[in-house]
Subunit: 307 residues, 4 copies
């Protein structure tokens, strides 16, 4: 009845997917990561499940842009919910700008003088945001003078980008809707705000909710890989609750903890009481930085998809 | 030159403000809390500073509603930025509903069957949200058929509430603008979304940005007490950066850590590189649940205000 | 049946003990702190309970030396278990040396050159350890050439100190046994190791276990305030388990979390499975830095004791 | 001068060592893990460096027993410092007993009745400890009636074990000294304590310090992989400081944070001020559960060793 902890085995040249299975022979976060794989594996094979990816936190500066777009290309998800910040940084790279490896032993006043802004151990040039502004302006001026949801705008933006690893472009090419409930809370949103002040072009973030609910109502089951917490996590939780389609599969990779009461650290168990997650569901929290956990999961899931 | 750690002294009947000063004789989080007090004390006396309070996390279910409204009544802040969730829970209590002390050793499926939703160790009745919906509907139907910012809507909502400890009402009475960049990500936002679908009443969250920038442009200096992280923290950071008025005073009470790169855990030092915080500024992070840290600070600050 | 969250009230000149009771009207860590108070209050009135204080982490550099000795003087505990590091720092102050308020924005190479060693935001002079060595040597040379437990040695050391706020002296004066299972892992232990190399004076840390078990076997019930985790927590847990006297009261103030499997973050619930904590017990974890949590609890408990 | 974040790439069948190098193209914990690999790689090639492995936390129940013994067999370390708890669990498996995969949604009172003790998501049978006691007793009775250091005892114990994946046996076979400064704080220590009460067999934990210092004095340089914090981390830090041989290479995998002042979360930078780490040194903290981080590092390091 009880299964022994058989210990994690490693050997030279072992593959990531083999290691992930070995994690199932250990305990604590290693076993959580294996459980996450099992759940995402099941979810990926469930054709009746509407699959979400939500992304909060600095995923693009964190170096996960390739992996996220690759997972979307591999059809692991049907819809994406993310923050304005991640899309700003995705656009910035799509426009040819870059993030740089920085360090944390630095005088931030010096960086400021050098025109570098810091995201923990990442630098981004201030001038990159000027490039973003200019190129975005050209795009905005070409948009029709009407009210759009964030989803509609982002699909349009994605279609105008030529960078194959852009999350926005990938979603557009793959016809995957991308929702951004915090578009207003970003550099991208700031420019939209400024531009739409004297234009008939407007973004209505409340319209997205209706579109998201419509999408969910049309589904049989729902499931999600939730990276971090934040608004993307809550926004999805609330939508599936409102639509009466609680999550059947849920993997949350998050370093937050539940004891302080914030939604980012809230467990999928707690979510059952709200009708956000099904009583009978596959669920796990992986208490790990997603820059480590996601690549491992992605490597194995993509490999499975190729078989 | 070096000051000794003189150790924290306690005695019977000591006041909270005395203890807070004693925390300055210790180290680690105790000393951070005292530094936070020093900074907020300086800020409160600086008439040329536009003072912000930002609130993320479950502050209302956490039991901080009285304290937040009391701090606003004491004129410690000139503007508030918070989440849709906190305002939903504030409204819910304003409409006569309640949060309940729950426990965490519970089967969430059982709670769900009993109609109770859980926020860590807090329960809220599902039916309370129906009451909210009904009362809100009546209010929404009376609103003019026009487009508002969240600030304008929240001011109107606040003026219609009779509960003296409501954050919304207090802001309205004290004429303190309250911004809610994530209004769309809440039960309150869900109802606004549904109602505005077939109405000329709309909320434009991008309009808030312009209004917030106008407010900041008119100020000489800026400062903030930042509870938790989330969108409220980022939204303020970005606005003071865009307005070229980086924070001179900043106290962030947050349990997040910087190493994972998310904005919630980002330090005020990092913010200097962005022009969100001034080089020459008073700044501290208090790594503590705000349900403990805020009441201590509030008790001392209100006491000072009465002198 | 359900009790409402009545919100934490603060007002000018309020006492710490009043605030602590107000914390019971909130949620999350605030309520945990109130529950800790309730449990310690019950424990302090239970004459049949053998009451332990365990202290890991940098309590003395943290500024808690006065509070710990004051709680011992107030007879809140019958025995203490702590680390060699805390006793080293206690002795250092007893010998007239000091800890200094430092900051964390510093080049540690510079500090090293200046002869200052850093404990997060605390500095201690290297020369203070030379003073410690010299004064300790004199004491050691006067000790009888026999084998002692850490408890016996620490009682002797305490009796030779004149500083009233020394934890060692207070335990000695109050006749409270103090156990130090990690005496070998400290500067104090290093000197003992060097001295006993060429002397008949020896410290046998295994003898303590027998003495601790004897103490526990003689008790009716056991209870503990566990500051941090570490060896002191485990050592007590193991002793009450081995003695068949699991804890009836247990308050653990710790910032560690359970998900990574370490003992420091292990819950009192898990401890039930081991027979370390009673099934029917009063237990709580307060996820807070003890430099903030302990002074609040101490102020209220000492006040109760004076009534 | 600045290197771009080139994003972490994953593909089917990729090896763990390739992923680890890809982590260097990302940020946050992923990049830390790559830096850890670089440092350990350098250290492993430095013949003049005395290489330590310190292990705190529940590494054996966590499923890392195979990996730790494999790393020792691969000659990656010259000495090991660990806790009594890990050695107890290593012995328990060496004697044919097992750890089991448990879950955390469980009533610990029920487990206790079933004779199962829980370590987060791991169960161990109470009767396994009886087996341990019996087999250990036989071994102890055969030991010479003299005083040993923990190092000497553990080497002897290791030589009597037939399980090839035992950490104790592996150290004994490879002639790697293993120090256990907290041997007294474990079930193993409890039995030693009981047995030595009425025997001439004694373990002197202060003798280890002398032996450890002798080992370090004989080295040119020192370096360490520090798993978790606890006594093993401090014990090593203190020994290299006392011996005047601060660490040239240091990788600390730990989920603790520095802000609360405890040694487990203390940074290698802080350690420079103490003379525990060299000014010019290779150092990194990986803020990750070691059940995930260690297998990744081990797979790559062992692979390198085979080339």
């Amino acid at each position: 009845m009880l299964n022994p902890v058989e210990h994690i085995k490693v050997k030279p040249k072992m593959t990531v997917s083999t290691l992930l299975k070995e994690f199932g022979n250990g305990s604590f976060t290693a076993r959580r990561l294996y459980e996450a794989y099992q759940i995402l594996s099941l979810m990926s094979k469930d054709c009746s499940c509407l699959k979400f990816l939500t992304v909060a936190g600095a995923a693009v500066p964190g170096g996960l842009r390739f992996i996220i777009s690759t997972m979307i290309k591999a059809k692991l998800f049907d819809a994406v919910i993310t923050t304005g910040a991640n899309l700003t940084h995705d656009l910035l790279e799509a426009f040819g700008e870059m993030h740089f490896k920085g360090n944390t032993y630095v005088d931030d006043s010096d960086l400021e003088k050098m025109g570098l802004s810091r995201i923990y151990d990442v630098y981004v040039k201030k001038e990159s945001f000027l490039t973003l502004e200019k190129k975005l302006r050209v795009i905005l001026e070409d948009l029709p003078g009407k009210t759009m949801s964030s989803k509609e705008l982002l699909n349009t933006l994605g279609s105008l980008i030529s960078d194959d690893y852009s999350i926005l472009k990938t979603c557009s090419v793959m016809n995957i809707p991308i929702f951004c409930p915090t578009l207003n809370d970003s550099i991208l949103g700031l420019h939209i705000s400024m531009y739409s002040r004297n234009s008939d072009f407007k973004v209505d973030l409340f319209q997205d909710q209706v579109e998201l609910l419509d999408l969910i109502w049309g589904s049989e089951k729902t499931g999600a890989l939730i990276l971090g917490g934040g608004v993307p996590k809550n926004y999805l939780n609330q939508a599936v609750m409102a639509a009466g389609k609680p999550l059947t599969y849920v993997v949350n990779i998050s370093t937050d903890r539940p004891e302080y009461g914030g939604l980012s650290g809230a467990t999928p168990d707690e979510a059952i009481s709200w009708g956000k997650v099904k009583r009978e569901s596959y669920r796990v929290v992986v208490p790990c930085d997603f820059t480590v956990a996601l690549p491992i999961l992605a490597a194995a899931l993509i490999e499975d998809g190729e078989v």
